[in-house]
């Protein structure tokens, strides 16, 4: 793992939303991480932790409040309009909800072909059609589907269309924003296998956002855990699951019911108490302090920095900094 190349650098990224006169939602607050070329970086957390906002800000779909996103040497948020267009060819997104993310009035062929038209990837109509056929086949759909509309498809098939749409411009980086959470278990496996196969064939880099902890362990090389706009832990997926350090990560992992009755019966850990507080005007200090069993005075006052406590294993917790 020494000759890896950093593809994406997220540096102190902040995205705050103003609501009303005085309230600020700190959806993403000072998040930094790197994504290496060819890997799958998983971003995991509960609803409202800022993982989707983070993904969208990285792609330039939101303007950041602070910090920067460097993709392959270029600052994503400082591009002029031409370069920005180029960037949309390099980086794509697959959305969570396959029902609302496809235009109901466009045919599948046009949904997939639109990106190719914008980037002038095809010489003529015939070539465009050929490429759409190829893409449909790549994602496991048929040629006949080209003239149909999204409502004629099931959730899993729509997600395949969404993937084909993202692939159409031959990107190298794809943000997968909960691409499987709206799908049934057996269909989830189909989509995940498809994404992994495409990654191998096309050397894609994924930023995979999900709340499904078992799935993210399965597909990711490295995982970042988010809580209320902060990255609280970051490690290789195996390391993270075997040895979580942050109390939130520990609570999160033990909350997942395992499909194995014997393990479940033996489980004695109490579930994490309380609920995620609101991210409107959050108090200073560690965001997790209000739910943490180990919280001390310092936790309520100072935000703990993300520090490397083991090789490639980063944790933001005062307990780890000064035991």
């Amino acid at each position: 793992m020494t000759d890896r190349e950093t593809l994406l650098e997220v540096r102190n990224l902040k995205k705050h939303f103003k609501i009303g006169r005085k309230s600020i939602v700190k959806a993403v607050d000072d998040v930094s991480f790197d994504v290496f070329r060819g890997e799958t970086f998983g971003l995991v957390g509960e609803s409202g932790c800022g993982k989707t906002t983070c993904g969208k800000t990285i792609l330039g779909l939101h303007k950041p409040t602070g910090g920067e996103v460097i993709y392959d040497g270029m600052d994503v948020h400082a591009l002029d309009s031409d370069r920005k267009k180029d960037f949309t060819k390099i980086a794509q997104i697959v959305f969570q909800d396959p029902y609302s993310s496809l235009d109901p009035r466009m045919t599948v062929g046009d949904i997939i072909g639109e990106g190719m038209d914008i980037h002038h990837l095809c010489k003529d109509k015939g070539e465009r059609e050929e490429r759409v056929f190829d893409l449909l086949q790549t994602v496991g759909l048929n040629r006949e589907h080209i003239n149909r509309f999204p409502h004629e498809f099931s959730g899993g098939q729509r997600q395949r269309i969404g993937i084909a749409r993202a692939l159409a411009v031959e990107p190298e980086f794809i943000v997968c924003d909960e691409p499987i959470s709206a799908l049934d278990v057996s269909i989830q496996a189909q989509i995940v296998n498809l994404l992994m196969q495409l990654q191998r064939e096309k050397q894609l880099t994924y930023l995979f956002i999900t709340h499904n902890l078992a799935m993210i362990k399965y597909i990711s090389d490295r995982v970042g855990v988010m809580y209320l706009g902060n990255l609280v832990e970051l490690a290789g997926s195996k390391q993270l699951y075997e040895m979580p350090y942050h109390p939130y990560t520990q609570g999160l992992l033990s909350s997942v019911p395992v499909p194995d009755p014997r393990i479940e019966r033996r489980k004695e850990t109490a579930p994490l108490r309380g609920e995620i507080p609101t991210s409107i005007n959050p108090p200073p200090g560690c965001r997790f302090a209000s739910r943490c069993d180990y919280a001390r005075e310092v936790c309520y006052e100072v935000m703990p920095p993300l520090i490397e406590i083991e090789d490639e294993h980063f944790v933001a917790c005062h307990l780890m900094a000064s035991p």
Binding site: E46, S47, S154, G156, D184, V185, S186, I187, Q188, A189, Q190, V192, N193, M196, Q197, H211, L213, A214, M215, K217, Y218, I219, S237, K238, Y241, G251, L252, L253, S254, S255, V256, P257, V258, P259, D260, P261, R262, I263, E264, K267, A270, P271, L272, R273, E275, I276
Partner: protein, 343 residues
């Protein structure tokens, strides 16, 4: 050994008339629920699990949903629920059998205070005064661990989070001390840490009150943590039933095995492709001939597409409807776990 049957469902068929034709959503479902046990019905969307449990409390739209079948019956403690008049049924619903739903945000009345919604159940089913109902509602809110219950009781649903609303739903459901609690995907809309809390709550309440719980879900993790017995549903039929251990460690139906294999486990490392079922569930307007799983089954034989398999018993009540267990079936290439004798 608890073995007193509380609820029995016999040969239940439910069809819906739609403009496209008659959808045979449930096609011959049998099961029984014992006192104090948790019975899970597992299956993917559209397999008929929700329709099945809704029919128990008669919550299906009566104009389009038709319940039929030879000798069809839903009996609660010996009393046939299907033959009850609506007035009599309303005395069972909410009082003896209560139900909580998947989406707590839309299942509560947004214009009523939380306390009034819980109190309403008590006012209807129990002979209590308004004051008494409010007091009991408060107790119930505390019982389901709502912090600051005294203030919360006068708030509206929009002031609650999803997890808190599910607690309110549970409080409403247990208000009349029901014998049966039907939980239809109770944690699907919730985050994992909240899910763990709700599961814990339901388990504790069940233990304290000796309630029978029917749990409907597609999440095998939730099933593993709660269920005593499991029924696996596919395309409107129960394809396999057994205790939690039998289903998880010794599945006898290819569909059950596929479901189990297609979820990654936290305890396993990244391996090469996840097992995935090909295709999608069949259209229930024209269900396929023979076994409804045959078109997606990698072990399907000729017979599977012609005739419906009858259940094979593996001891106890572990049963699977699959032709593979027929003595004449060609068993080459079939995973050992499906065929293994159960000890």
């Amino acid at each position: 050994m608890k073995n007193n049957i509380l609820l029995e469902v016999r040969n239940l068929h439910i069809s819906f008339s739609t403009y496209a034709g008659t959808v045979q959503a449930v096609r011959g479902v049998d099961f029984s629920l014992n006192v104090g046990e948790t019975l899970a019905i597992v299956g993917e969307s559209g397999c008929g699990k929700t329709v099945t449990v809704k029919s128990i409390v008669r919550l299906l739209p009566q104009d389009v949903a038709k319940i039929h079948g030879d000798n069809v019956g839903i009996t609660l403690d010996g009393e046939d629920l299907l033959s009850l008049e609506e007035v009599e049924m309303s005395r069972v619903r909410g009082k003896r059998i209560a139900m909580i739903f998947q989406d707590p945000m839309t299942s509560l009345n947004p214009t009523m205070k939380i306390g009034d919604q819980i109190g309403e159940v008590l006012l209807i089913h129990k002979n209590v005064s308004k004051k008494e109902a409010r007091l009991q509602a408060l107790e119930l809110l505390q019982m389901v661990n709502i912090p600051n219950a005294e203030q919360r009781i006068d708030q509206y649903p929009f002031e609650f989070s999803g997890g808190m609303l599910q607690r309110v739903m549970i409080a409403t459901a247990i208000a009349c001390d029901p014998e049966i609690l039907i939980a239809d995907e109770p944690t699907t809309a919730l985050d994992v840490t909240i899910q763990a809390q709700i599961i814990e709550l339901i388990k504790n309440l069940q233990r304290e009150r000796d309630m029978g719980v029917i749990l409907v879900t597609h999440d095998l993790g939730v099933v593993a943590s709660m269920a005593d017995r499991i029924h696996v549903m596919y395309a409107g039929q129960i394809v396999e039933r057994g205790t939690a251990d039998e289903i998880f460690y010794s599945p006898k139906h290819p569909y059950t095995l596929a479901l189990l294999k297609s979820v990654p486990k936290l305890t396993e490392d990244k391996q090469e492709p996840l097992y995935s079922l090909i295709g999608t569930p069949p259209d229930l307007i024209n269900p396929p001939h023979g076994c409804s799983f045959a078109p997606r089954c990698e072990f399907a034989m000729k017979i599977c597409r012609i005739a419906e398999p009858s259940p094979t018993l593996f001891g106890g009540y572990h049963e699977s409807c699959c032709w593979l267990h027929h003595p004449k079936a060609n068993k080459s290439g079939v995973p050992e776990i499906l065929l293994r004798e159960v000890v």
